[in-house]
């Protein structure tokens, strides 16, 4: 029955990854990517890889979203000046 946890974590990762692709607005996608990172961290812990889970948490919780949001901010500002929208 130890499989229930593994299967649940796998399904959550699959759903979160699909959602991360389906959400088209990059700022909102950053939020889904953060949640995908959390789901991956749980999966890695369940697969007994705490080192990898720690890596994923460190990168996914604050660093990647910050990079994406800053890029979006820069790109949007420029896009608005050029043609008034993205």
């Amino acid at each position: 029955m130890a499989d229930v946890l593994t299967v649940l974590a796998l399904l959550l990762v699959a759903v979160a990854a699909t959602a991360a692709v389906a959400v088209r607005d990059p700022a909102r996608q950053a939020l889904v990517l953060a949640v995908l990172g959390l789901a991956l961290a749980v999966l890695f812990t369940v697969l007994q890889a705490p080192d990898v889970a720690l890596s994923q948490l460190a990168v996914g919780s604050a660093l990647t979203p910050l990079l994406i949001l800053l890029s979006v901010r820069k790109v949007r500002r420029r896009g608005q000046r050029e043609d008034g929208g993205r």
């Binding site: 796998l10 697969l47 007994q48 890889a49 994406i68 890029s71 043609d83």
Partner: protein, 115 residues
């Protein structure tokens, strides 16, 4: 059950590829590439897993007292998570340059510009 993790890894990879190919915004495409990257971690760790095993980290575990999972694949995935993030940053920097030079981040409009 014995192939489900591999199939999930394949699904994540294909979903990410679909996102990249149909993306209308380069930052979104970079995000989809990050999704593709994560599929490799799932595959690697699934290959290294052993039923009833635990992590080969012996700070709180007497060596040999419990079966352990494969550490080699974990070492591969662990470095790539961090290095992958910096590569994502490089790609985002490229996107900013594209936005500066061409004033758009829609891949379709960019290909029209070129030819």
């Amino acid at each position: 059950m014995s192939v489900l993790p591999y199939l999930v890894a394949g699904w994540i990879f294909l979903a990410g590829c679909y996102g990249i190919a149909t993306s209308r915004h380069l930052v979104h495409a970079v995000g989809c590439l990050a999704v593709c990257q994560s599929s490799t971690y799932v595959l690697l760790l699934a290959v290294g897993y052993r039923d009833g095993g635990t992590a080969p980290v012996h700070s709180d575990l007497a060596p040999g007292s419990r079966p352990v999972v494969d550490p080699v694949v974990q070492a591969l995935a662990l470095t790539d998570v961090v290095v992958g993030a910096t590569v994502t940053a490089l790609l985002l920097a490229l996107v900013m340059q594209v936005a500066k030079r061409h004033g758009t981040v829609d891949p379709d409009e960019l290909s029209e510009l070129r030819g």
